[in-house]
Symmetry: C2
């Protein structure tokens, strides 16, 4: 898996650099490029593996992988804003609004979202596949997906009663789960195949990913994670760790990885990379 | 023209209400609906007329018209933010961040952009047309279009030397011109026809529109425009009025309306509504 992940990383970075390099120069473009640098590229990897499992060639899958990462980058830039999570550090670097300004961060995020949708119109993808991808992407991102989850999360911060496990699970299903689900079903979407097995895989993976994030917020090292840790606990925010305890959260993450594994049964050994990814997601230290 | 504009207004409002109504309820959805209420719907009208001139049926054009208005609504919500133009009044009502919060305004804008792209995936449009629209829309909105123009505008506010006429023309060509151009060429884009005449029309129209806005900022009545007036002058910002004088700006707007008229020659009498729109744009008081 690691060599495939490295290859995807450089392919996707090159695709993003090309797309951003086509824009007029200036602070806005610099901030967009800055926001798109680095990252684990787990979502891009999901797209490329999901495409491979469905016989979709790399040149059709790559723009989709780049779109998902551009979208993810926009969401981080906006989430870090003072009016949102107010974070000054991301991937070990100052966040966009700290390095430039709030206005530039808002605009860079906005432009990254447009860029992401534009990448889905790549002719290599095919017209019908583009239509399916755009519809599913809009659903995953907007007022019923990622943005909806983030709105719930912001609201929860000022709520009197902390969220229940069921509420957090639904919230995270939007905030982080929706985009991970889109990435995982990109292959079936392009190939017009049944997305159900990969959707089930993604549901377990997304939740495991979030639980691992909550664990890292408690046990992580800022120098390694590259972002502030201990924020949720000090904000008195309900997390999977506060609700299940550290051991309970670890057990739940392990259970979800087993679920993710089971969901991949129809793909057999072909899905070895995706199985490894699920384990990587809960074992990572960043 | 007025009866067609009224009809477009109610059709587009219904389409937006349907799309937003499909989302999960809550503050985010309320803020999105609020941001999409009212407005002159000039961009939607452009889409519908451009489509009619190219034999595109209303059910294929309407989602595009709604997309353009949703996108326009997002841009207003983000432009009004404290970190941007810091406006508390829009269409005679408190702006979204005043009525709810900055976080809700950022998220509602983000979700409206996703919604706009999602509308372009309406099956009635046709797969190939959807691909062309998504590519052109991303170009019109993102880091080479509207957002790029807004970034220049924000930058100009803190610049030591005011912008020149040439610089303002380019800036506005992005900030307001790019989306107007997209709306005007939506018909040829869907029908896969030559967009050149309508693109030339839109270029003149967009600039005339902006000059009229600058004139209204000087001569307008807050009760009628529904937004703060005199902001640009008090900020010492270069505008078409500060550069050309009031009479010079009026003369330039009139000249541009004549250009817009001339560009429509290939459409003859069929383009009567678009000719009237160009006159309306510089005569409006709101």
């Amino acid at each position: 898996m690691q060599s495939r992940l490295s290859a995807v990383k450089s392919q996707v970075q090159a695709a993003l650099d090309r797309a951003i390099g086509d824009l007029p120069g200036g602070e806005l473009r610099d901030a967009m490029a800055y926001a798109c640098a680095g990252g684990k590229r787990i979502r891009a990897f999901l797209v490329m593996e999901s495409a491979r499992l469905h016989g979709v060639p790399d040149d059709a899958a790559l723009p989709v992988a780049a779109a998902v990462e551009a979208l993810h980058a926009y969401s981080l830039v906006h989430d870090d804003l003072p009016a949102m999570d107010d974070d000054d550090l991301r991937r070990g670097q100052p966040t966009v609004h700290v390095k430039w300004s709030e206005a530039t961060a808002i605009l860079a995020g906005d432009a990254l979202q447009s860029l992401a949708f534009g990448l889905l119109a790549d002719p290599a993808i095919g017209d019908a596949a583009t239509r399916r991808l755009v519809a599913a992407f809009a659903q995953a991102v907007g007022g019923a997906g990622m943005v909806w989850g983030q709105a719930l999360d912001i609201k929860a911060e000022t709520a009197v009663t902390p969220l229940t496990l069921d509420q957090i699970t639904r919230l995270q299903g939007g905030k982080t789960g929706a985009l991970i689900r889109f990435a995982a079903i990109a292959g079936p979407l392009i190939a017009d195949a049944d997305p159900a097995p990969l959707a089930a895989y993604a549901e377990a993976l997304g939740l495991a990913f979030q639980i691992a994030d909550d664990i890292l917020d408690v046990t992580g090292n800022e120098d390694v994670t590259g972002k502030r840790v201990g924020k949720d606990a000090s904000a008195g925010k309900a997390t999977f760790v506060s609700l299940l305890g550290l051991d309970g959260a670890r057990a739940e993450a392990a259970r979800l990885v087993a679920d993710a594994d089971a969901a991949l049964a129809p793909y057999g050994e072909n899905a070895a990379n995706l199985r490894q990814l699920a384990r990587f997601v809960i074992e990572r230290d960043t």
